[in-house]
Amino acid sequence: GAGVSQSPRYKVAKRGQDVALRCDPISGHVSLFWYQQALGQGPEFLTYFQNEAQLDKSGLPSDRFFAERPEGSVSTLKIQRTQQEDSAVYLCASSQPGTFMNTEAFFGQGTRLTVV
């Protein structure tokens, strides 16, 4: 597609429910990132994939958070046993490293998760 696509756009979950958030990166982009943006804050890094390999998951806040990208394209961020503090916008970004000038990350519109 033309840009990074995320679904669903909005998700309301009851506390304790599991959720799965999907990201379709720009076609051919090798790198994929997940960020969490709390209300009134800047985005914070969660995890990074290069193709199907998860190279950095240092930003995942707890073991309830899990991300995968099994075929090196679409990625899913899963949150188990959601808590109210998980309420945030989850942003996905993709980029195409390899040339110095072309590593800019492009962001999707995000999934707004509200845990009630």
């Binding site: 790198s31 985005p43 980029s95 800019e104």
Partner: protein, 112 residues
């Protein structure tokens, strides 16, 4: 640990006035980005600054980078209402192909 500080956090400007947003960061970096975010929307890339002394301009916005001072500025000239949004600077971690640390954002409100 890379830290990015942005100020001011909130800026109320009159149309036609000039102002500057500052972005300081704590460690060396390959590049710095400025993004715009409208309420409920995602991040729109404004500028990518790649080297010391880089200056880029688009319309009423001009961004510059001083890597020695670890400082970037976003200058707004003759503000108009359409510029009302939140502006973020983001610093790329060296060698990580776009892993970014964001500032806290500057919420800009342009009034008539």
């Amino acid at each position: 640990e890379l830290k990015v500080e942005q100020n001011p956090l909130f800026l109320s400007m009159q149309e036609g006035k000039n102002y500057t947003i500052y972005c300081n960061y704590s460690t060396t970096s390959d590049r710095l980005y400025w993004y715009r975010q409208d309420p409920g929307k995602s991040l729109e890339s404004l500028f990518v600054l790649l080297s010391n002394g880089a200056v880029k301009q688009e319309g009423r916005l001009m961004a510059s980078l001083d890597t020695k001072a670890r400082l970037s500025t976003l200058h707004i000239t003759a503000a108009v209402h359409d510029l009302s949004a939140t502006y973020f600077c983001a610093v790329e971690h060296t060698g990580t192909a776009s892993k970014l640390t964001f500032g806290t954002g500057t919420r800009l409100q342009v009034t008539l």
